[in-house]
Symmetry: C2
Subunit: 243 residues, 2 copies
């Protein structure tokens, strides 16, 4: 059973303001919830159908609400809710800036699907850290969580002043900007410690940040499309940097 | 002004059955409509706001409806409609199978965003032909069109029996399957004429098709994500095959 207050509370977490107040977020669908259960994230509430609980014999240390499919649809942000939904505590941000190996910087990414897919791509290629400008879409947005496909538990996303981050990075870190008119990424020699900056979906990387970066890289265009999606671009570039 | 019948007609085209009956589909947003206007596609009706028409001084040979923003929202499939929408004739399928250069085969792709993004990726890398199994998502689905970002006008999508296509391809065409346990795509020597097969989002490539293909290729995994999105995978692989 689910109360009106519970419905109101879970649904309110679709808004960033409410997530900030309550310091928790929602994770939906089997893959995502199972990954969260295996991670260091702290689960607060689990909503699942009897059927789901019988299929996935999970261990949990939080309040459990056994709900019907109809009830879970009422708290879901998805068009077709899955049989499980978790309310998870937002971890305390460590803000440890560690620029060893390959790191991603996102300058005002706005589309939640893009951020989620970039997190999944980073997880595939073993990239542990994403630094987002403070104006980027919130990582705990339900659409971001949904498109990470569980990778959220293995990639750290830090919101910070990325101009300062770039300015204060040591000489041992090479900084690259993914742009339309740089050197073909297939032809560069990749530095051991690197920061790769990707820009906003419409405006690209801001002028202020571009002026700080010497190494400009590009995915060579053979056809006529005006641009590539930023998540797609990050995947092509990480396949060069990480493999 | 827009009539009730017009609203009903344009909205009905969100369904494949109605698109098949009327042999037309809907294109929304400035980028997509401008690309269609420059292409060989035949426009039937154009709905645009006065403001849009004053900004984009376009030439058209179809009925024009000057509409308000409120009116265009009523016929749009988007949450926030753009200021322009076109109803476009579905071209007569040529069914010319030409496997020169690099070609993509999609085995039951179901997500419209994925097909749209793959079309955009193909357009970036100069791939002209995509062959879809008959069970794949319809290319004229509004979400597919939206995510092509105008590339639909330069990439031909053909629905066909892909088992026959693979069986009947000449020896001069090398066929590759994108799978989880193949050879690292970074290390292969790419054939001049190639067919690259990508599978369904959940089940991958069907056993019947896999059994026909010797060359299995993979994007090397460094981290822990279970899989990569199929559109992201196609981009990484085409960056190897086309550049």
């Amino acid at each position: 059973m689910i109360s009106k207050n519970q419905i109101k509370f879970v649904k309110s977490l679709q808004q960033k303001k409410q997530r900030d107040i309550h310091q928790c977020f929602v994770v939906e669908s089997t893959k995502n919830v199972l990954e969260i259960l295996q991670s260091d994230y702290e689960l607060l509430h689990l909503y699942a159908t009897e059927h789901w609980l019988s299929v996935y014999n999970i261990k949990y240390e939080c309040t459990l609400n056994v709900v019907s499919e109809k009830e879970i649809q009422r708290i879901s942000s998805l068009k077709s809710a899955s049989e499980v939904l978790a309310v998870v505590k937002i971890p305390i941000e460590q803000n440890n800036i560690d620029l060893k190996d390959v790191n991603i910087v996102l300058d005002d990414i706005k589309d939640p699907g893009n951020l989620g897919t970039i997190i999944r791509v980073c997880d595939w290629f073993g990239v542990k850290n994403i630094y987002c400008s403070n104006q980027s879409v919130d990582v705990y947005n339900p659409k971001v969580i949904q498109s990470t496909m569980g990778s959220i538990s293995r990639v750290e996303v830090v919101y910070t002043d990325i101009v300062d981050l770039i300015r204060n990075s040591s000489n041992e870190v090479k900084i690259y900007a993914a742009v339309m008119d740089g050197v073909d990424v297939n032809n560069i020699k990749v530095a051991e410690n690197s920061l790769i900056v990707f820009g906003n979906e419409s405006h690209g990387i801001s002028q202020e940040i571009l002026s700080l970066i010497k190494e400009k890289i590009t995915i060579q265009k053979i056809g006529e499309a005006e641009s590539l999606n930023v998540a797609v671009s990050s995947a092509i570039i990480l396949n060069k940097f990480c493999v």
